[in-house]
């Protein structure tokens, strides 16, 4: 009620009467409109009672008596509210009662869910499974310690000398512009010094890459409680960068054979990480491979690499994944997912910060969560993007794990990961094909008419398949060379148009255009 309206109501009443009425209305705690009416009614009653009083003292006295007769203001407010509530129409009373019942039911469900989930979390604690141990056992092949490349990588990391901070920014590079020649003389000297300081580290890396196996005992699976894994991955990336810069130095000295050899070493680091059962480590391996592949292509595109060097590199690459390009394994993924769930519930409650509290209504018990996780992995497959698109199957992301947010949160984006595996495999095969084509060109003087010629002449073991079609990568001879590309995400042959993302930036893989492997971007 507006102040001036209230003042008008009480203008003929003593202050004690006005205060009493205000207290009653305040204690009433009801709709504004109703309270306004009651206030007006009480004020009118007081006014009528005090009508015959002549002086203000008389009014004051009588008002006090009246207030005593009215009784306790709080009780009166409660009685008035009850009375007015009963005046509500039947439909409003029904809705109000229904809302109350729904609210009580909702609160009861929340309380029961909390109690249930507390018990469910307890069951996780009492029934511990050492998933980390299982992953470590899976990771480790039946080999001796001496066959483990990790021991040498560890020494390489220990003897690694960090890039000087003031120099770090300058040495950041992307796939297309790594160039020793871009540096000033001063920077070149600093870089040489840094590379010399890391000579010992590099030697350990070279030794490590001569060993067939790589395994490392991990201490945890959940990203929330495993800083060690993250630190390890960063360190391996630093070793890869070291290799890239060593190769760059060798290119600047026109020692292309040595540079290619160095890059093969870098790719072997990637190959080791691809054998890991931990997803993050696997992804770091693919990234390292990408860097190595890009550097190889850049050298082939810009420098006169001889055919022997190409032949050696080609052979090494073909032998690198002689048993097939490694894909993620369902069993490993399942164990990793279960381990992450267990770790996040037991050790770290940060998961709850990322989930909507209303999800606490869902089931969190270990048996139901593990069952859901297994169901998910039973349904996922290794179909290529082309096969998935052709069959129009429900994507794995659509296999929702209803009423189990724990499984939903931790399950991997299986489709995305498998697609990434296919892309990496395709890129690798594309690099091998390009080396074969370049070698053919050096020997024959011209590029072949089609890729089958390479396979027939044993320049290539097999045709590079496009995961976005059921055919090999598209190869076209051009005036100044050739085009080699995948039809990419849109499953349409755009004629070798460079792929672009929504921002219009040129990318290797994007929703529009083709994934062009040759000519190299930013040659």
């Amino acid at each position: 009620m507006k102040r001036n309206e209230t003042d008008k109501l009480f203008e003929n009443l003593p202050a004690c009467a006005a205060d009493f009425i205000k207290i009653v209305i305040k204690k009433m705690r009801y709709h504004k409109k109703v309270r306004r009416e009651v206030m007006a009614e009480l004020a009118a009653h007081f006014e009528d009672e005090l009508r015959d009083c002549k002086t203000s003292d008389e009014k004051e006295q009588k008002a006090q008596q009246l207030i005593e007769k009215f009784g306790d203001a709080k009780l009166l407010g409660v009685l008035l509210r009850r009375g007015k509530k009963r005046c509500r129409p039947l439909w409003l009373k029904t809705i109000s009662h229904a809302c109350n019942i729904i609210f009580m039911v909702y609160i009861s469900i929340i309380v029961l869910a909390f109690i249930y989930n507390a018990w469910a979390v307890y069951t996780w604690s009492t029934n511990d499974i050492d998933y980390v141990k299982i992953i470590n056992q899976l990771n480790r092949p039946k080999r001796t310690h001496a066959d483990n490349a990790w021991e040498y990588y560890k020494r390489a990391i220990e003897s690694y000398v960090e890039i000087p901070k003031e120099f770090e920014e300058k040495l950041k590079c992307d796939f297309c512009t790594v160039k020793f020649d871009n540096l000033s003389k001063v920077d070149e000297t600093k870089l040489e010094q840094w590379l010399q300081q890391n000579e010992a580290s590099w030697q350990y890396i070279v030794k490590a890459t001569t060993l067939r196996y790589y395994w490392r005992n991990v201490s945890g699976l959940s990203p929330y409680d495993n800083e060690e894994n993250s630190k390890h991955n960063k360190q391996m990336k630093k070793l890869e960068k070291l290799g890239i810069w060593i190769a760059e130095k060798e290119v600047s000295r026109e020692d292309y054979k040595k540079a290619m050899n160095t890059l093969l070493t870098v790719m072997k680091i990637g190959k080791h990480l691809l054998s890991s059962k931990i997803t993050l480590e696997y992804l770091v391996g693919t990234d390292i491979n990408c860097w190595g592949e890009s550097a190889i292509l850049r050298i082939v595109a810009n420098y006169p690499v001889d055919r022997d060097c190409l032949a050696i590199t080609l052979r090494e690459l073909e032998e690198m994944y002689i048993n097939g390009y490694p894909m993620l394994d369902k069993q490993d993924q399942e164990i990793e997912m279960l381990g992450c769930m267990q770790s996040s519930i037991k050790n770290n409650w940060k998961i709850y910060e990322q989930l909507n509290p209303s999800l606490l209504l869902y089931r969190w018990s270990r048996p139901s969560t593990e069952k859901r996780a297994r169901q998910f992995f039973e349904k996922v497959d290794y179909q290529s993007p082309f096969e998935r698109n052709k069959d129009q199957q429900i994507t794995n992301e659509e296999i929702t794990l209803f009423y189990n947010p724990m499984s939903d949160f931790w399950r991997p984006s299986w489709n995305t990961l498998i697609e990434l595996c296919y892309k990496q495999k395709t890129r690798f095969r594309a690099v091998v094909t390009i080396l074969a084509l370049e070698r053919w060109k050096i020997v024959k003087g011209i590029y072949p008419e089609n890729l089958n010629d390479l396979v027939s002449a044993e320049y290539l073991k097999e045709l590079p398949m496009d995961p976005y079609s059921d055919k090999p990568l598209v190869y076209k001879k051009t005036a100044d060379g050739f085009l080699l590309y995948s039809i990419s995400h849109n499953f349409i042959d755009d004629g070798g148009v460079l792929a672009k993302n929504k921002k219009g930036e040129t990318k290797l893989w994007a929703n529009e255009g083709d994934a062009v492997f040759w000519p190299v971007m930013g040659k």
Binding site: E37, V38, A40, E41, L42, A44, H45, E47, D48, E49, L66, K69, F70, G71, D72, L75, L76, L79, L80, R82, G83, K84, R86, C87
Partner: protein, 113 residues
């Protein structure tokens, strides 16, 4: 005379309905009318008056309406509804029977001597 509150509790609604059946009134007017017409024997407590009116209004025995009084001020006038009249008739019959019964018990002592 001050009566036991429990004794008056049951008859207050009937008294209000009876007074209002004779003409519409606002709260203060009603409380004055009860005292006058009962010869100051009955007096409805101020803290009881308005809750009672609202309860009767909720039961649709009376209805309230804001109108301008003779003084020019706005007052909420209450009048009895047809349902209220029926209820009043019923309660009056019950009270009459009660009085008859009590009279027989107390041997006619209920009537003033």
């Amino acid at each position: 005379m001050k009566f036991e509150s429990q004794l008056l509790k049951g008859i207050a609604p009937a008294v209000v309905l009876e007074i209002l059946s004779r003409g519409r009134m606002y709260g203060y007017e009603l409380s004055q009318a009860i005292e006058q017409r009962s010869g100051d024997i009955l007096s409805l407590g101020k803290g009881t008056l308005y809750p009672l009116l609202y309860n009767l209004e909720a039961k649709k025995l009376i209805k309230g309406k804001w109108e301008k009084a003779n003084s020019g001020r706005k007052r909420r006038y209450y009048s009895v509804t047809s349902k209220g009249k029926t209820q009043l008739a019923k309660q009056k019959a019950e009270l009459k029977e009660l009085t008859t019964g009590l009279n027989l018990v107390f041997g006619g002592a209920l009537w003033p001597t």
